[in-house]
């Protein structure tokens, strides 16, 4: 083999090498297997064309980066300004429900009915005015907000938890697919409102019972959704690998399947919260909820009859419901986008 000598005459690399430079000046530093560039100018040609040190570890190093899933989720969530802003407003709102009772002039549990004060417009005494029975509206609105948020959050969490657990098993265990499908059809084919009416009439209308009933029928959609998603991941090779290692069903579901559902679960959870508030309003409207403690649903129901003459009765609870709904809609979408690793920067 002959090398072509045509370019030999001119040096191919135009090196400004200080020939007197001794090797001690050229400390060969390695960063990830590479000599630092600045070393080049001081290096005699002879050294340039000598064998470099070989580092097996450095070869292994090429091409990797630092990454943490939840950190990335958090970082991309924080980029959605609107969602973060709304979420902060919501948190302040929720905290304020505790403060409001303290700074208010009337205690929600000791409101007097006073016909002379009915339909008082908001003023310095009654900050949100009074309702049709002359009771302070401020204390009622804030108490209702707190009750509704707590109810909505706990019912939504319950629904999603039950739905996710059932959905995972339904999707992953082939033998149970038939059973759960039939169960789903059985429950889903009868309008839920009928079940709710029966429960309210036969067991009771207390918040606890109705909350439990909402969970009992609310998991269906989530379960079905999760089941369909599980199908996408069920037959992936890494699940086979886990089975080869003797991993138990629950650990496979928890470690192999569930992490892929996070984005969907978060979205469903966020949307379930305003959904539950709306649902609760409906139930109250139909008289299926205990009305002894005010909730947003009850306030809205009451305000419905009078809002043409006294719009403030509707406006206060409606604004709060809107804030909650918009917040969770935005936050849910933003957070579930952030949970999707494809969107990670």
């Amino acid at each position: 083999m002959e090398k072509t000598v045509s370019e030999l005459e001119q040096p191919i690399v135009d090196l400004e090498v200080d020939r007197s430079a001794v090797d001690k000046n050229t400390t060969t530093k390695y960063s990830r297997g590479r000599v630092h560039v600045h070393a080049r100018a001081q290096m005699p040609e002879k050294q340039l064309f000598s064998f470099a040190e070989y580092e097996a570890k450095a070869a292994e190093y090429t091409g990797s980066s630092e990454y943490s899933y939840w950190k990335s989720v958090w970082r991309s969530f924080l980029k959605k300004r609107a969602a973060v802003g709304m979420f902060i407003i919501f948190l302040l709102l929720f905290l304020f429900t505790f403060v409001a009772a303290a700074i208010g002039k009337y205690d929600v549990f000791n409101l007097r009915i006073d016909n002379s004060l009915m339909f008082t417009s908001p003023n310095s005494e009654f900050w949100f005015g009074t309702d049709n029975l002359g009771r302070d509206y401020w204390s009622q609105v804030w108490h209702a907000t707190r009750t509704s948020i707590i109810l909505a959050v706990s019912v939504s969490f319950g629904q999603i938890f039950v739905g996710v657990v059932i959905g995972l098993v339904w999707g992953y265990v082939r033998k149970l697919d038939r059973f759960f499908t039939e169960l789903y059809n059985l429950i889903d084919n009868i309008p839920v409102i009928i079940y709710m009416t029966l429960i309210a009439l036969m067991i009771g209308k207390t918040t606890l019972v109705m909350g439990a009933a909402m969970i009992g029928f609310g998991w269906l959609g989530t379960a079905r959704n999760i089941r369909n998603l599980v199908f996408m991941y069920r037959d992936r090779e890494y699940n086979l690998a886990s089975r080869c290692l003797g991993t138990s069903l629950w650990r496979i579901l928890y470690r192999n399947i569930l992490p892929y559902m996070v984005s969907v679960i978060i979205l469903r959870l966020a949307l379930a919260i305003p959904g539950t508030i709306a649902y609760e309003t409906t139930l109250t409207y139909l008289g299926l909820m205990d009305i002894s403690t005010p909730s947003l649903g009850i306030l809205l129901r009451n305000a419905r009859s009078y809002f043409l003459d006294y719009p403030y009765l509707l406006i206060f609870p409606a604004v709060i419901v809107s804030i909650i709904t918009i917040t969770f809609y935005l936050v849910g979408n933003a957070f579930s986008d952030a949970c999707d690793p494809r969107n990670h920067v």
């Binding site: 083999m1 064309f49 990670h344």
Partner: protein
């Protein structure tokens, strides 16, 4: 490669071919092309100042690993870069026009399809499933040739015939799902060729196909080129395919062509250390019992700026200047350039490695035969796994599908038993039946003499799980993306609580990672940060931690790049020696398993047709299917490939209506499937 075929190798005059090609004008000239992609806010330089001249009528193969930019480079020629990518520097001259200046679709349409056409990798996705095959070809013809109605239809049928689809009148009206994978790829080629393009870019057109089908498609492409006088750019990662189709070869690494030359120059006289490493790492050239010369590490991350020679960190003979200054292209011969400082006159003289010289003599000397002891020949051999009359069926009742039928074999302790077959032959099914993932419908599987198929006790189940592990094909799919390496590797430990305390578990994970050559700090990372080879090694560490005796390796290297394959094969061989492991090695490529396996079983449509010691199988294949498979396997040697005659297996040669076939030990340790008449025939032929 059988002995018989080696004798009649035609003399190919590569020099004359070189002269002939270079006397033509270059029809396409890319100069200093740089392509950048914007990905998640970062700039990735996929092509780094790459130049190429394409001569009229040649077949240029571009080889490279995934991510080397071979696809991206050619996509520039047809304006099919993804939206986030753009040509940031350089020019591509074609027929007096600079293609890099093209901006609108309208401009591109004058070139794309008409002058330069493309065939892509996956025949499943490049056809519209809702349209008749004929219509899809006809559309291309109407669009580009201006023919209408019946004339176009006639032309479409002619195209079908041209690409070797029998019965085009009937096939014209069929839908893609009625075509097999190979047939679909033929249709895709028909669409591409329909407009008589001057240049045809084939982007890994056979990667998704079986070897026997691949050989037929390669034949077709060669035939079409001859008939139509097209210029072909053939992109592949398979050096065997390169040897088969190419006149010239360009080797790409990290977005640059590092060496380009005539096919014989690249294979027998390459000078870039990357080409050396690539060729040396081929399992086909491995000598049994020796390590394959593997390339350490992974290709560079192109998000970072590459300084000097991109290959330097992985090059054991790297010069200091390799890290500092990018080498120019040095002429080796007028047709052969290499981009390495090694060619600089000032550089110390480095000789070509032995493997390269061995390659150039291979077609004269044949495969090196090394006499090493095989465990199955030992007098005190111990049967680890016995498979008896195994049948695996899926579904039930009317939709019953028998994937594997009447399969018998024994795997002895300490051997590597290879199971080779095409996709759908049932090879994976057998592997999964042994590790108890697939249910056995008939027959039984014994592990150390105890039955492990069907219902077994819990204690035995646990023992089987611990001693029989599996390595999977796709390193991308076989690791849980959302778990850290630490959890993935220790999953088995957690399941059986095989550790004393947290510190012990961590030590065991570190030990397993170390054993497969991964750095200890990798345990806190997620799988997606690793390259294919590293991921595969994580998968191996995961099964090793159980301290198994027997491992089912389900195509562990077929999804890996050439340079990575050797790493994984070496690792598997090392582990076998260190730990006394036994492997069932499942593969679709016969040439790869020759190097590592003691015995090879060839499976076709759920039935093992031949089983023999590996050299014996290569020297004396008996079953016609084995022969067809051997002839179809691309060999990384242009001399062998250019003159080879393809054998096509036709299952209808077997007439089992009168005499039932049996599984028969025809010679000692050489089993063949066939009826008495066939077996007699095989025996007779062997005696000759």
């Amino acid at each position: 490669m059988s002995e018989a075929m080696k004798k009649d190798i035609p003399e190919i005059d590569f020099e004359k071919r070189a002269e002939q090609i270079l006397s033509n004008e270059p029809i396409l000239a890319a100069k200093d092309v740089e392509v950048q992609f914007t990905l998640r806010g970062q700039k990735l330089t996929a092509i780094r100042k790459c130049s190429l001249e394409l001569y009229d009528g040649e077949t240029l193969a571009i080889v490279g690993e995934s991510g080397s930019g071979k696809s991206v480079f050619t996509k520039c020629f047809v304006g099919m870069l993804d939206k986030n990518g753009s040509i940031t520097h350089g020019s591509i001259m074609y027929q007096g026009q600079d293609l890099t200046k093209f901006t609108t679709e309208k401009e591109w349409r004058t070139i794309r399809g008409k002058k330069i056409a493309m065939v892509t990798q996956d025949p499943m996705t490049s056809l519209n499933p809702l349209k008749r095959i004929g219509r899809q070809i006809q559309e291309a013809i109407e669009l580009h040739q201006g023919l209408k109605g019946n004339a176009a239809k006639k032309e479409a049928m002619h195209m079908l015939e041209l690409v070797g689809i029998p019965n085009p009148e009937r096939r014209y009206y069929q839908y893609p799902h009625e075509f097999s994978g190979g047939m679909r790829q033929r249709v895709v080629i028909a669409i591409a060729v329909a407009c008589r393009p001057q240049i045809l870019i084939c982007d890994e057109p056979t990667t998704a196909l079986d070897v026997t089908i691949q050989a037929q498609i390669l034949d077709l492409i060669r035939k079409l080129q001859k008939e139509q006088g097209m210029t072909i750019i053939y992109i592949t990662h398979d050096l065997g395919v390169v040897a088969n189709v190419a006149d010239r070869v360009a080797v790409m690494y990290a977005g640059q062509i590092v060496e380009i030359g005539m096919v014989n120059e690249i294979f027998f006289d390459s000078w870039h250390p990357y080409s050396w490493a690539l060729l040396s790492a081929l399992p086909q050239l491995g000598v049994k019992g020796e390590k394959l010369p593997a390339i350490d590490g992974t290709p560079p991350n192109l998000f970072n700026k590459v300084e000097g020679d991109a290959f330097a960190p992985r090059n054991r003979n790297a010069l200091t200047i390799d890290f500092l200054e990018e080498p120019p292209l040095f002429d080796v011969t007028p047709t052969h350039q290499a981009k390495t400082w090694m060619m600089d006159p000032r550089a110390p003289v480095v000789e070509q490695p032995d493997t390269i010289r061995k390659l150039s003599r291979q077609h004269l000397e044949g495969h090196p035969v090394v006499d090493i002891p095989h465990p199955h020949l030992a007098p005190d051999r111990e049967a680890l796994i016995e498979v008896k009359n195994l049948q695996v069926a899926f579904g039930n009742g009317r939709r019953k599908f028998i994937a594997v039928n009447d399969v018998n074999f024994t795997i002895y302790r300490g051997e590597t038993f290879a199971l080779v077959g095409e996709s759908g032959s049932g090879k994976t099914t057998i592997g999964r039946a042994i590790v108890r993932i697939n249910p056995v419908s008939k027959g039984e599987i014994l592990f150390k003499g105890r039955r492990i198929s069907g219902k077994i006790s819990k204690a035995l189940d646990e023992e089987v799980i611990r001693s029989c592990q599996m390595i999977f094909q796709d390193p991308m799919a076989s690791l849980n993306e959302r778990a850290k390496v630490d959890y993935i590797v220790s999953e088995g430990l957690l399941n059986f609580h095989m550790y004393k305390d947290e510190a012990d578990r961590r030590a065991k994970v570190q030990g397993a990672l170390d054993e497969v050559g991964l750095l200890p700090e990798f345990s806190s990372r997620f799988p997606h940060e690793f390259s294919g080879g590293q991921r595969q090694r994580i998968g191996i560490a995961r099964s090793l931690i159980m301290k198994p005796e027997f491992i089912v390796a389900d195509e562990p290297i077929s999804a890996l790049d050439v340079s990575i394959r050797a790493q994984v094969l070496n690792l598997l061989n090392d582990l076998k020696q260190k730990r006394g492991l036994t492997y069932l090695f499942i593969a679709h490529d016969l040439s790869v398993v020759r190097f590592i396996s003691d015995r090879i079983a060839v499976i076709h449509k759920g039935q093992i047709v031949e089983l023999a010691e590996s050299e014996e199988l290569f020297l004396h294949p008996m079953h016609p299917y084995t022969r067809a498979l051997l002839s179809a396997v691309p060999n990384p040697n242009p001399y062998l490939e250019h003159g080879k005659k393809l054998l096509v297996y036709d299952p209808s040669v077997h007439d089992y209506s009168v005499e039932k076939p049996t599984w028969c030990e025809l010679l000692p340790d050489h089993f063949v499937y066939g009826n008495q008449r066939e077996l007699d025939g095989y025996r007779e032929e062997y005696c000759k």
